[in-house]
Symmetry: none
Subunit: 202 residues, 4 copies
DNA sequence: AATGAATGAGCGTTCATTCAT
DNA sequence: CATGAATGAACGCTCATTCAT
């Protein structure tokens, strides 16, 4: 009931096609965000027909999950490799290695992470809801530094770190087994914040 | 020729209408996520006609921004109030107060935060891409605890805290003025992680 | 997020719009069949936008049902009117009136009936599966006429009548309360066929 | 480089393949209707690849026609066999035999007939447009019975029979050579209806 | 003869946005 | 101010059909 127009070698190793679709999708997601990227743009990017997409993925959601899988595995490998280089008993070194590797690995892929994870359109983040809270903590940290209450070398980064750490901990407490109650959670977060600013002078 | 169907005082103080729309929207966003909530559902929820929405907001995005504003201000007030109760020179106390207040305040509004911030549909979060990274760090922390390398009371929460803190710091470094380079960032994050696990035994 | 192109008075009495859509749909269904008529063609025919369709009908199926309703009512009125003209006690006359009215009424709307009922594309019917059966019965009737076994003035029409009548009776027996068994059904149909050919000579 | 997945004798006598496809198709058509059955489902059902379908049929329509042919021939055989058992000169017996055989034969295959003929999805028929007309005729017949105007043993079946017979006759008059005009058609149908209710009392 | 990956036109449906009333 | 009928671009998805292997 339809008539063809193009003729061109078509069949490819299936894994390859799938990968090409994922790559094209990621490229577009990073550029325009997930929601605003259409299936048609993805297939155009991979130079296949629209219908071909559905040969490899059942929906955009499905593709996103596949992207997430691939991404997670890649990250973990990077971090593990760094830790494995440390001597078996150097625990401080291991934690340092974890931190440095994680920073490195995420610096290269934070946008990919966010797209895969939150589906966030790019050029968000600024003007965040959170900024006023972070700013406020930043001011607190700076004030403390000024009077020698603690030693924090990069109060801006620290403020962000503490805020997002806290946010993550609170978030996780809601989703997980919920064993942790408000007070316990506050205690731990409090301790982490205090430790993070180094030795304090009361 | 046409007969009116509703009879009811229609004009309302504009601020009130706006608020009703925002409340209705938030309610729906929390229940079903942002993307799947239509303007019509919002106006139905606020008991006004579809067109009325555009009298108060220029788009869904605009509404989301307003929601974010309102939310941020509410949060900040809560945190500030807690800090202001502390003696002027008790810096440790101030930081503690910040941490505890922030935890409290977010526990009550984390879903609202996420909806306004990420537009996330509810009941996501589990099965996250990040989980495998957090799990890995958790195992590292536990191993260190087992051999007495450090003192961490709640390794699960701590792992989440450190991971999300790190993630936030990396993220911010991309968006901001970018003054911070890879090494500096790694240095600070490393230090924050080490401090967070308390005194370490080398 | 979109930009308008046309401006033109838009609002109409709702019943009218609905009717216009139904008329446009019927026109197209008759011309091209139900399956091959798209919603877009229908809305074009009614000179409204595609989306408007869904303001009045929830789907093509829904429209078809509405068309069926309207059609059924119209038919029944026509037949009832004809019968009501007959004297109260003239039963033969009433049955005659029914037959003639039904023929008349259907002659004007058989295509509409079929479209609404079967969704049939036009230019079917010929080359029907049934034809060989009808042909066979026709030959039987003619043969009987030739030897004076019965009196059938229009054997072709009669063959069609008996065949479709039989077919309908069998069909209904499957759907209905199923009280009628094979033998009973065969008995009645047999009798109807015999009566239909007039007095027979054994 | 590619490895075969199935190993199984592939080539089959062409007629057999064709039949298997037809059987698989019919099975699916009866279960789900024609329109909702895809070529892929048919080929899966026949355990061949999608492309193989087009080796035996040029389209779905073509397959449907083949199905119709096969069906018609099977039916006709059944009816002919019944008639041939009657004595050569027993015309009434022949017509009786036709009626009974046709009923029998259709009872076993009405669904197949409809699928092949109308492509109808199963479990339609109820709630038909026609029902109100049939109901109306049924009431007329019952009323006549009550006053002794005629003798009809099964008014429900008779109503259906007369209605569908009439419908078929009208339908055929539109498709055929059209030699028959409105009045002639009405005359014949009228006569058939009157004959069908047996001797009437004026 | 048989395969099945690839095609792509086409469809039904949604919904943010407009504007005549 | 408020309404809600109307708009129409856009989207996800289907599936009959083709053709290189």
């Amino acid at each position: 009931m339809r008539t063809p127009t193009k003729l061109r070698p078509r069949t490819k190793p299936p894994g390859e096609r799938r990968d090409e679709l994922m790559n094209a999708a990621l490229r577009l997601f990073l550029k325009q965000g997930v929601a605003t990227t259409t299936i048609e743009q993805i297939t155009s990017g991979a130079e296949v027909a629209k219908g071909t997409f559905y040969l490899y993925f059942s929906s955009k959601e499905d593709l996103l999950a596949a992207l997430g899988d691939r991404f997670g595995k890649k990250l973990l490998e990077g971090i593990k490799a760094a830790i494995d280089k440390m001597p078996k008993n150097d625990w401080k070194g291991k934690l340092s290695a974890w931190a440095r590797a994680a920073v490195t690995v995420y610096l290269d892929s934070i946008r990919e992470h966010d797209v895969v994870f939150y589906g966030s359109r790019p050029a968000k983040r600024e003007g965040l809801v959170d900024n006023i809270i972070v700013d406020h903590l930043f001011e607190l940290l700076e004030a403390g530094i000024a009077v020698g209450a603690w030693t924090v070398e990069e109060p801006r980064v620290t403020a962000v770190f503490l805020f997002t750490g806290l946010h993550g901990a609170v978030d996780a407490s809601q989703t997980n087994g919920k064993r942790i109650n408000r007070t316990q959670l506050a205690d731990i977060v409090e301790q982490l914040c205090l430790r993070s600013v180094g030795p304090t002078i009361d």
